[in-house]
Amino acid sequence: MNVDERISADAATNPAHSRQRLQHEYEQLWSEFGASLARLAASYESNPQSREDLLQEIRLAIWMALPRFRGDASLRTFIFRIAHNRALTHVWRRKRSGMAEESEEILDPRSSPEASAINRADQSRLLTAIRLLPIPFRQVLTLALEDLSHAEISAVLGISENNVAVRMNRAKKLIKERLGRR
C-alpha cells in the first residue's frame, strides 16, 4: 500500500488520524530526503537566506503534492521532480525580480589563507563548479551525485536516457576543466 492509499484508507475512518499520518509520512520522507534536497537547493542558490527560502518552497510543494502521490513513479523520482520544478521557478522568478545571480569563482585553497578559510567554511570547490554549470547539465550531474540511475534521471527530467548520458559527459568535462583550472 503506497502513501496515498494509506492516507485514503485513514481518511475514510478518521480524518484527524489521516492528517497525523500524513504529517508522520512527511517527517519520515524528510528524514530520508531532507539532506539531498538541501544540497539540491544549494546547487541552485548560493545566498544562504535565499537557499533557505528555496528549501521552504520545496518543502511546501512536496507537502502539498504528497497526497497526490499514486506510486506510478518511485517516491525518489516524485520528490526530485517537484524539487527541481520549484528550484527552476525560483531561478526564473529571481530573474524576473531583477536579482542577478551572484557571480562566483572557484577559489584556489593555496592562493591565500582567507580564500582557504572561505572555502572550508562555506562551500566546496566542487559545489562552486557545479553552480557554474548550465542548468540542464547541473540537473543531470546533481541527480547522479544523489545516486539516481540514468533511468531515474530520465524520469525526473523527462528526457531520454541517451540525452542523460550526453549531458552527463558534457557536465563532467566542464567540471574537470573548471576544477583543473588553477
Partner: protein, 191 residues
C-alpha cells in the same frame, strides 16, 4: 542501475559531505493551509469583483435600455468573463504542474508566460476599445448638454487616472512575462 562511474563516485563523497540544516517541517501544514487560504481568498475576491461588474452593467442596461447601453454592457460582460476564465485556469493549474517532469513543467511554465503575455496584450487592446467608446460617448453627452463641463472634466480625469493605472499594470505584466520567457530561452540554449 546506479551510476558506477569512477569520477562521479569520487565527487559523490565530497558532494554528500556538504552540510546544511534541513530544518524541521513541524509548521508546514499550517503554512500550506495558510497559503491555500490566501490563494482562495484572492481567487474569490477576483470572482466577486467580476460578479459586481456583471451585476452593475446588467442592472444599468436594464434600467436604461438603449443600443448604447446594451453595447457597453456586452463589452463589460465579455471582458469580465474572459478575465475570470483566465484567472480560474491559472489558479487551477498552479500546483498540479509541480508533479510533471522537468521538461513538461518547463513547457507548462512557458505556456503560462505566453498566456500572461497574451492577457497583457488583450488588456491593452480592451482598454483602447473602452477608451474609443467612452471618450466620444462622454463628449457627445456634453455636446447634447446632458453632462456639465465640470462633470466632463472630472470624468475624463478619472478615466485618465484609471487608464494610466491599467497601462502600468499591463506593461508590468508584459515585462515580467518577457523576462521569464528570456530565462527559459537562455536555459534551453545552454546545452
Amino acid at each position: 542501475m546506479t551510476n558506477h562511474d569512477a569520477e562521479i563516485e569520487s565527487w559523490r563523497a565530497e558532494w554528500i559531505a556538504q552540510e546544511y540544516a534541513a530544518g524541521t517541517p513541524s509548521d508546514l501544514r499550517r503554512k500550506a493551509v495558510a497559503q491555500q487560504r490566501s490563494l482562495r481568498i484572492r481567487h474569490v475576491l477576483e470572482l466577486f469583483s467580476g460578479l459586481i461588474l456583471l451585476g452593475f452593467s446588467g442592472v444599468f442596461a436594464w434600467k436604461n435600455p438603449s443600443a448604447e447601453t446594451y453595447l457597453w454592457a456586452a463589452i463589460v460582460w465579455l471582458g469580465t468573463l474572459i478575465a475570470s476564465a483566465f484567472s480560474v485556469r491559472n489558479w487551477k493549474s498552479l500546483w498540479a504542474a509541480n508533479l510533471k517532469c522537468v521538461t513538461e513543467f518547463t513547457d507548462h511554465y512557458r505556456q503560462r508566460c505566453a498566456a500572461e503575455l497574451r492577457a497583457a496584450r488583450f488588456g491593452l487592446w480592451f482598454l483602447a476599445v473602452q477608451l474609443a467608446i467612452t471618450v466620444p460617448w462622454l463628449t457627445l453627452d456634453y455636446l447634447r448638454k446632458e453632462l456639465t463641463g465640470r462633470c466632463l472634466a472630472v470624468s475624463l480625469l478619472v478615466l485618465a487616472l484609471q487608464t494610466a493605472g491599467f497601462i502600468a499594470l499591463f506593461r508590468n505584466m508584459r515585462r515580467r512575462a518577457l523576462q521569464e520567457l528570456e530565462s527559459l530561452r537562455e536555459m534551453q540554449c545552454e546545452p
